[in-house]
């Protein structure tokens, strides 16, 4: 039955003859380790195609979904591994390609009749590199996207065809949806077609001229068969390469930074295989830049393409010297340019700081995406609406001219000229206890440098302790601690456990009766607004948003406000303030330490509110 089917198949396809030819292939000059890079290159291409096809099953190219879908792939261990293999195998292909070309130069394997093999192989190299760089931005993350923007601009600077090519690549004048779909088209359609076409010619030419079909070695003896003697060499090297790639993919994974966002500033650098061009460009400034980016690469490529014909005119010994100079010179120049670029970057503090910052942002973006999934506004909104990320930026920009935000050891954001309280831990029991400490309230971390240094609050606290010694002093300190517990309960910071309800009740009575806080402050139903900040909901999210928006409001300092500006004074006109209501809320959340942290238990995401659907019923 099976036999009949095979016969039927063979009658129509003649596959047996094909298989036989494959099995009877020989290596005329004997099996060589030197042949392995080329074969491994082919197998890596297969691996790239297979892993690429797999990734295509999930990936979605658009500014809105690219990062989100890659994050979706990365969340699955197997997906992250496949993506890692895809990434590292591409790097390995570039390395192997270089080794392959060097070997062909070294052994002069480009000589007649192999000129076409040489030319197609040489053209494949830049194509494979372009194939790789069209893949890097597809993740929609900061580094890849800024690379393609720069690469687009380099392309745009090419004389005559540049501008139109750039617009084609970017899909308009700005990076966006079409940039990603265009890159995707290049990466999964155009580049593969070009590469596979050239590769087909390359392999057809090798088979036509390269492998002996007579089964005889050049000296007339019986040639060694390809399988398994060359095959085992190929497979040994391939296993080692794939093992390394798999280890890298498993341990490190493909890079995946924060989603691209114009708000994120970082210092872009090209991939390692392009650093030499990046460095070379430094020698040609201004209008001459195109010499480095276009003229020199094309000249080198043309020179190498014509090598078989140049070499033919040289006597053999001269040719050997000539080829040696090309190989060593080429490797030398490439390494020197690459290393000098790398060594400059290693010393560049700004670049290192930028890398570190981006790394932190990337970790945070992935953390948030793991928890929230991707909001409809797109992945960039994850970091934009994150208090932990935006809080320090807003604080540095708008608050740090007067306020510091430094912990006990002094690390954090230091004010330019500290002239207002240090807001680290604002609203916590510890912070409030410090405010009520006669030694501290007039100090630099509280009211020392403000208009309130001689004010009623400082006076009241200092006078209360004045002359008290021993037990009396300890007693008052204890009462002040109780006040701190009450106010910390009003603040309800997510990092602070609330005090016992009975302590809080007792503390409130103490505040209104014995300590006389309510003489100036309002607390719940006691006291009145107008002379000092409201203590109801002190340091709560609502209170802080109100305070930052307008400290001159009668609920806070009113007429007595020192120098604190009103950042969003008019709730009816959100555009009129220095800060938008959303920014004020982010700042309040950050000061309160209220943000998502993976190792901190938080309430589950609230389900959609049940809402009446009267419109549908009508």
């Amino acid at each position: 039955m099976i036999c009949g089917l095979r016969d039927w198949m063979n009658d129509r396809t003649g596959y047996r003859e094909g298989l036989k030819r494959l099995q009877n292939r020989t290596v005329p000059e004997g099996p060589k380790w030197g042949y392995t890079p080329a074969v491994c290159l082919l197998w890596l291409l297969v691996i790239e195609c297979v892993t690429g096809f797999l990734l295509m099953a999930t990936y979605s190219p658009s500014a809105q979904t690219a990062w989100a879908s890659v994050h979706f792939i990365e969340r699955d261990t197997a997906g992250a591994f496949i993506r890692g293999i895809h990434y590292f195998a591409a790097q390995a292909m570039i390395v192997l390609f270089a080794i392959h070309i060097i070997r062909v130069l070294w052994t002069a394997a480009f000589r007649a009749p192999l000129e076409l093999v040489w030319a197609t192989g040489l053209l494949l190299m830049p194509l494979v590199v372009v194939w790789a760089i069209t893949g890097n931005p597809l993740s929609g993350s900061v580094i890849g996207m800024s690379q393609i923007e720069v690469e687009g601009n380099i392309l745009g600077a090419t004389p005559i065809v540049g501008p139109i090519m750039q617009r084609l690549l970017i899909g308009g004048s700005q990076v966006g949806h079409l940039t990603l779909t265009h890159l995707y088209f290049l990466h999964v359609a155009l580049m593969p077609v070009l590469v596979l076409t050239l590769l087909a010619i390359h392999i057809w030419q090798i088979n036509r001229h390269g492998l002996s079909v007579t089964g005889k070695a050049p000296d007339g003896s019986l040639a060694v068969s390809y399988f398994p003697y060359q095959t085992i060499r190929n497979l040994t090297v391939l296993t080692m390469i794939l093992g390394t790639i798999a280890w890298l993919a498993w341990r490190h994974g493909a890079p995946f930074e924060a989603p691209v966002d114009p708000q994120i500033t970082h210092v872009p650098r090209p991939e390692w295989y392009f650093l030499f061009l990046f460095e070379l460009r430094g020698y040609f400034v201004g209008d001459a830049e195109v010499v480095a980016t276009v003229v020199i690469p094309i000249a080198v490529l043309l020179f190498l393409l014509l090598l078989p014909w140049l070499d033919r005119r040289l006597p053999r010994p001269v040719s050997a010297v000539f080829r040696t100079v090309i190989v060593i010179g080429g490797c030398g120049v490439w390494s020197w340019l690459t290393l000098s670029s790398l060594s400059r970057d290693w010393k560049d503090k700004e670049l290192l700081a930028s890398k570190e910052k981006l790394h932190a942002l990337s970790t945070r973006a992935r953390e948030l995406a793991d928890y929230h999934s991707i909001p409809i506004e797109g992945p960039a909104s994850l970091l934009r609406n994150d208090a932990k990320t935006r809080g320090p930026q807003l604080f540095e920009r708008h608050c740090a001219s007067c306020h510091s935000h430094t912990d006990e050891s002094g690390t954090g954001i230091v004010a330019e000229t500290p002239s207002a309280p240090n807001l680290f831990g604002f609203g916590s029991e510890r912070w409030i206890a410090g405010l009520l400490d006669p030694e501290k309230i007039g100090g630099e971390h509280y009211f020392g440098n403000t208009g309130f240094a001689e004010g009623d609050m400082v006076g009241t606290v200092v006078d209360a302790f004045d002359g008290l010694e021993g037990e009396d002093r300890d007693n008052l300190t204890g009462q002040m601690r109780q006040v701190a517990v009450v106010l910390a309960a009003e603040a309800a910071l997510p990092n602070q456990a609330a005090g016992a309800a009975s302590d809080i009740e007792a503390g409130k009575v103490l505040m209104t009766d014995e300590l006389g806080c309510a003489d100036c402050h309002k607390l719940g139903d006691n006291g009145e607004l107008g002379s000092a900040p409201d203590l109801t909901g002190y340091a709560s999210r609502d209170w802080l948003i109100g305070f930052i928006s307008d400290p001159r409001h009668e609920r806070f300092y009113g007429e007595n406000n020192d120098r604190m500006p009103s950042f969003a004074p008019n709730p009816d006109d959100p555009k009129a303030g220095v800060l938008s209501p959303a920014d004020v809320a982010l700042l309040a959340d950050w000061l309160r330490g209220d943000w998502y942290e993976p190792d901190r238990p938080t309430e589950p995401v609230p389900a959609a509110k049940p809402s009446p659907q009267s419109e549908d019923a009508d």
């Binding site: 691996i47 989100a68 994050h71 699955d76 398994p228 991707i374 009446p612 009267s614 549908d616």
Partner: protein, 185 residues
């Protein structure tokens, strides 16, 4: 010959190993991505005011809920539709209004059923499934009804909100194509 066989065997082993480095995680990844998301539970929700429902005439209402679509989250979106049928109040039982609720998802292949112009039956636009106002399968015109069970009734009750009666529905989804009503997993 011995060496040749050993090398052949080694070649087979190495190539199997290389292939499985890609194939095993590849298959795992593919199946992880195509795994069906479990539908998110939707809490019971008010869908219509009782007084807006005419007696004996089906009215359509939308169910909103949180929907996850692979990587995206839609906090509030229409996740399904229901048909509400207010019944004649049964005076003898002493109770007030009675409302039945049917999922508009056809139990055949999950198209949305619509109300027949006569307003006396539901009809599925995909394969002409027909259902009565009690949700039952109808056999008409000698045509075979492709659905093998009636419309799926959903838990539904009347709740008072600010003194006004509302219809509250608990949204559920069921496996299509079978005669038993089995909750989708």
């Amino acid at each position: 010959m011995q060496r040749r066989n050993l090398l052949k065997w080694l070649s087979a082993a190495l190539s199997t190993m290389c292939a499985s480095i890609i194939a095993v995680p590849g298959v795992r990844y593919l199946f992880a991505t195509v795994q069906r998301d479990t539908p998110q539970a939707v809490p019971p929700q008010r869908v219509a005011r009782l007084n807006d429902l005419p007696i004996g005439e089906p009215v359509e209402a939308a169910i909103t809920g949180r929907r996850r679509d692979a990587w995206s989250i839609y906090p509030e979106e229409t996740v399904g539709r229901v048909w509400l049928v207010r019944r004649e109040a049964d005076e003898s039982a002493g109770s007030g209004a009675r409302v039945d609720c049917y999922s508009s998802v056809c139990p055949h292949l999950r198209c949305n059923v619509s109300l027949d112009p006569s307003k006396q039956s539901f009809i599925c636009p995909c394969h002409r499934g027909r259902f009565g106002l009690e949700g039952e399968r109808l056999q008409t015109d000698g045509q075979r009804n492709p659905a093998n069970r009636g419309l799926d009734a959903l838990p539904c009750q009347i709740v008072e909100v600010n003194g006004e009666p509302w219809v509250e529905v608990t949204w559920q989804e069921f496996e299509p194509g079978i005669s038993a009503k089995v909750t989708m997993s």
